[in-house]
Amino acid sequence: MHEMSLAESVVQIAEDTARQNGGSRISSVFLEVGRLAGVEIEALRFCFDAASRSSLAEGAELVIERPDGRAWCMPCGETVSLSGLADPCPRCGSHQLQVTGGNELKVREIAIH
């Protein structure tokens, strides 16, 4: 359940940004959470509700973009899609994979008032 830590971090980043830009309320928070980032989205949403209470982000809508997993397959010599970290290359079955996408974990933007 590291989602609580991540949710607290989302609230802190959103509040800091809102204050630096003269906002007094945050209505939306746009996140990028890759499909290989090891984050349970429902847990993150639940924790965000708890962590944002009494903050500028209380009641804010959480919009989450989920980039697909991608990896560089060494035997194939090209980028392939990957749905799980333990999965083999969908083309050749090799596990010699270097993850190149899908592990994003960031706040992209916020809407303030």
Binding site: M1, M4, S9, T17, G84, P88, E109, I110
Partner: protein, 292 residues
């Protein structure tokens, strides 16, 4: 705090060795300490690696969209960099030990630090939700240890380690072990500034654990398969377990050990010594080669 599983990070306590931190039991780490960037000395500014925040307005007139582009782990990572700098300055090898509860991590650590203490400085940071039992076990060997109680938190974070280091002076050329909270999921994501994550898996667990918890086994550089003294009584397939670990992480090293019998400890201690030596290449070269 999460009301589903009780997990949360609002009650972190760090015990000192001999001299407790001024902010001990009553004062958990605040959000500012855990989630703010590390201040740059003298400048009054925070780490600029977060990038400048650009503002542009679009959408409804009432709302402004502000670009942030900040990594959720950026604050943790800036603390981790600070810890890493501290380890580099003191010539310390830091290893982050991760496993599920009950893998024999503390028993393995007690035997390991007792062996290493005969040749170089060694110290330990213990992470658990509650109790100082593990730090007490380490201190009983004469090795300095600081207990971090994470309260409801399920993993250690870099600022907790930074705080614990205030109570744990590092002697040059030593080894620092950080025993993370027993959990094969959450600690994978949090860099503490360590040189390597070492995952410990005991043979009383399933061979498929690396496949069930791939994040952790992908983050680890070494897997210690512990409790091998119990293998005669089990159906555990060691080769299959190793193959599963390599499926998730092709470059991972695997060593078979028993903290009870000491089997495999020579290889484990040699692994550590090689990493310590790599931190001090000049000293090593000086010893290894006769200079004209």
């Amino acid at each position: 705090m999460c009301t589903t599983c009780g997990c949360g990070t609002d009650h972190v306590h760090i015990d000192g060795v001999g001299h407790p931190l001024a902010r001990a039991a009553q004062a958990p780490l605040t959000g500012v300490e855990r989630f703010a960037a590390v201040p740059i000395a003298g400048s009054g500014e925070t780490d600029s690696s977060f990038g400048r925040i650009g503002v542009h307005a679009h959408g409804t007139p009432a709302a402004r969209i502000v670009q942030v582009e900040r990594d959720l782990l950026a604050a943790n990572d800036s603390w981790a960099r600070l810890n890493r700098d501290h380890f580099a300055a003191t010539g310390t090898l830091c290893l982050n030990l991760v496993s599920s509860p009950g893998s024999g991590k503390t028993t393995l650590l007690v035997r390991t630090v007792a062996e290493i203490a005969t040749r170089r400085p060694v110290s330990v940071i213990e992470g658990d939700q509650q109790t100082s039992n593990d730090a007490d076990r380490i201190r009983a060997t004469g090795v300095p240890a600081v207990q971090v109680n994470t309260g409801r938190g399920c993993h250690l974070e870099a600022p907790m380690v930074a705080k614990a280091l205030e109570a744990l002076p590092l002697a040059g050329g030593g080894v620092l072990f950080v025993e993370n909270v027993g959990n094969l999921v959450c600690p994978a994501l949090f860099d503490l500034g360590e040189a390597h994550k070492v995952a410990i898996l005991s043979v009383t667990e399933g061979e498929d654990k690396p496949l069930k918890y791939p994040d952790m086994f992908r983050a680890a550089d070494l897997v210690l398969l512990n409790k091998t003294d119990l293998l005669p009584f089990l159906d555990f397939d060691v080769d299959l377990c190793e193959a599963n670990a390599r499926r998730v992480n092709p470059s991972v090293e695997v060593l078979r050990v028993s903290a009870r019998s000491g089997e495999g400890f020579d290889a484990w201690l040699a692994w550590i010594e090689r990493r310590v030596a790599a931190l001090h290449p000049a000293a090593d070269a000086g010893r290894g080669e006769a200079r004209p």
